[in-house]
């Protein structure tokens, strides 16, 4: 054990004297989550404000006076009135107008005789802001006519509402939202872990070859197994650190970010000591599994570039299960608890929703531990291969 601790201390000292490690394992993870939250919320706010302040060019043909008035109420709307049909598609494409609403000539007659009138709307589906704002005007106009008809026909409102649905919500709001967004949380943690583990594993194994220190290490009276275990633990720590600092960044960042009150209270429910501890505990065996696997894969590589190209395809085996965890219908079952990464993705969803079955949680922990033992054994086999390690 003393030997392993000695290796861990020396490797950590060396790694933390490398600027890349500090940036990737501490600075980026601490900053990334709050920066993402702030940037996304600010960008959304900016886009919404910008959209709301934009002038939209609306073309109208045969529009009734009350509709014209509704459009004119928003002074940002620039109206072009067409007296006869034109090539509206070309006019929209060349930017003369952004949308055209064509009312039938007999619109007033249709309305007066309580018939359904059809407005033909020329639009580009990609112009979200234009379509939303015009859609709102049309909806308001339609509602106005509908209410006027109901009033004129003296129909009581309940006659128009034969069925009324009344929901008795038995699940907590936290469960619904937790399951919806809980699947995204592992992306931040696991991809950060992947980056931390990979950089550390390459530095500790391939880096030793590049710096010609592997022979020095192997000439020391230390067992290869202890050297490997020391290196694997350090790579696991360097994988776990980004996840821990991501959480710290999230918790600290949330204190300084103005969130809508409803979202704020939900986040407070999610970011509890209990849920974060359960998530972090899952990541411990996973980081060991990841470090063992990466060391095994890169053991034969002689350069940083070669190690990186050998290890990169593994990312697909991490992203795919994470994507699967987001798919509807994929649930945490007694089968999925044994699939690494997928089980973490699904468990995090359950934890954030507050519906985690603790027996399944323990089984996931045990299965991840077994996988990590397997990965360490594999990495030991590779690390002991003289042809690979002394290449």
């Amino acid at each position: 054990m003393k030997e392993i601790i000695l290796i861990i201390k020396k490797e950590l000292t060396e790694l933390f004297r490398d600027k890349k490690t500090i940036i990737n394992s501490i600075i980026l993870p601490v900053l990334i989550t709050p920066i993402l939250i702030v940037v996304v919320s600010k960008v959304m706010e900016f886009v919404n404000k910008k959209d709301a302040a934009k002038t939209i060019k609306i073309g109208l043909m045969n529009a009734p006076a009350d509709f014209n008035q509704l459009v004119a109420n928003d002074t940002l709307n620039k109206v072009t009135t067409f007296t006869e049909a034109a090539d509206f598609k070309t006019l929209i494409n060349d930017g003369t107008v952004q949308t055209v609403l064509v009312f039938p000539e007999n619109w007033k007659t249709d309305m007066d005789s309580l018939r359904t009138g059809e407005i033909q709307i020329y639009r580009n589906e990609a112009k979200r802001n234009v379509n939303t704002r015009v859609g709102r005007i049309v909806t308001n106009y339609t509602e106005g006519i509908k209410n006027a008809r109901i009033a004129s026909l003296q129909i009581p409102m309940e006659k128009l509402t034969p069925v009324k649905r009344s929901y008795v919500e038995v699940g907590e709001k936290k469960e619904a939202i937790g399951k919806a967004i809980g699947g995204f949380i592992p992306y931040i943690f696991i991809l950060g872990m992947w980056g931390g583990c990979l950089l550390a594993a390459i530095d500790l194994v391939t880096g030793e070859k590049e710096r010609k220190t592997v022979e020095t290490t192997l000439s020391l009276p230390l067992s290869k197994f202890n050297v490997l275990i020391g290196k694997a633990i350090v790579a696991a720590i360097l994988g776990l650190l980004p996840a821990v600092f991501n959480i710290i960044g999230l918790v600290v960042g949330l204190q300084f970010i103005d969130l809508p009150p409803a979202f704020d209270s939900f986040i407070s429910e999610l970011v509890t000591f209990e849920s974060l501890s359960l998530i972090l505990l899952l990541l411990v065996p996973f980081s060991i599994f990841l470090s063992g696997l990466l060391i095994a894969i890169i053991a034969g590589a002689t350069t940083f570039k070669e190690a990186q190209s050998k290890a990169t395809p593994v990312i697909m085996f991490i992203i795919l299960p994470l994507v699967m965890a987001l798919l509807p219908g994929i649930e945490l079952t007694w089968a999925t608890v044994f699939v690494p990464v997928l089980n973490i993705g699904l468990a995090v969803k359950e934890i954030t929703a507050g519906t985690m079955d603790m027996l399944q949680y323990v089984v996931i922990l045990i299965s991840l531990l077994l996988f990590s033992v397997g990965a360490i054994y594999l990495s030991y086999r590779k690390f002991s291969d003289e042809n690979a390690i002394l290449k």
Binding site: E3, L6, K10, T13, E14, L15, R17, D18, R211, K212, T213, E215, T216, L218, S219, L220, P221, L222, S223, E386, L390
Partner: protein, 233 residues
């Protein structure tokens, strides 16, 4: 199409004895098996059969005990670049399980002797080749090993730095240490060698004292004699 792989013995039936207070040279052309042999003695790689007895300890039975008795210095035994000289020797002292007071005393002695004090806090990665070589020598001698192995220790070094290695080898001999070194620089061999083995294609083709080698010489120079023996083997 067909491809065949064949197993080649890097070394085969290699056997020699190195005595305390004498310098044993292992000579051979590139790829002859020198490095493999020295790596096996140092416990870095395992022989498929056979063993080495170092200072009375069987490598096959007590690998770590053998490693503790050896100081191994080669062109491939680099230093940990992000540690400084002080930290490097502290680390090696702990690995060799030296008592902390003794390790500190030995470190100070070597730093003084090799002139490392002025750059002892400088990180290895920022040192010149000469400085690094001095630290390498210090870490090789820190645990006062009975056996010193040098695999082409002066390869790629400037004459001044190479000279410090030559001094170290000489001094080790004076201290009654067993010294094994491999080289293909015949002038170094001539300068230092007491006993000599020539290895080619994994087998020993000469193993005797250097005096005997010189007595049996048919060529005019050591280099030519070495070439002839390898060619005729």
């Amino acid at each position: 199409m067909k491809t065949e792989t064949t197993t080649v013995n890097a070394v085969n039936d290699v056997s020699f004895e190195c005595k305390p207070g004498r310098i044993f040279s292992l000579l051979g052309p590139n790829g002859a098996g020198k490095t493999t042999t020295l790596r096996m003695i140092a416990g870095i790689i395992n022989p498929t059969s056979g063993t080495a007895v170092v200072d009375g300890v069987d490598l096959g039975k007590s690998g770590d005990a053998v490693k503790s008795r050896i100081g191994f210095l080669t062109g491939s035994t680099g230093l940990y670049e992000r540690l400084n000289a002080d930290e490097t020797l502290d680390f090696f002292g702990k690995v060799y399980k030296l008592e902390s007071g003794a390790a500190q005393e030995r470190k100070e002695y070597l730093f003084e002797k090799l002139g490392i004090n002025e750059f002892r806090k400088k990180r290895i990665g920022q040192m010149s080749t000469g400085m690094k070589q001095k630290v390498s020598i210090a870490r090789t001698l820190l645990h006062d090993p009975e056996v010193l192995i040098f695999d082409e220790p002066t390869s790629g070094l400037d004459v001044i730095t190479a000279d410090s290695i030559i001094d170290l080898i000489r001094e080790s001999k004076q201290n009654n240490k067993t010294v094994i070194f491999s080289s293909h620089i015949m002038s170094e061999v001539d300068l230092l060698c007491d006993d000599l083995a020539i290895i080619d294609k994994g087998s020993i083709i000469f193993n005797d004292s250097f005096d005997t080698f010189k007595k049996e010489m048919k060529a005019d120079t050591l280099t030519q004699e070495f070439i002839n023996r390898v060619k005729n083997s």
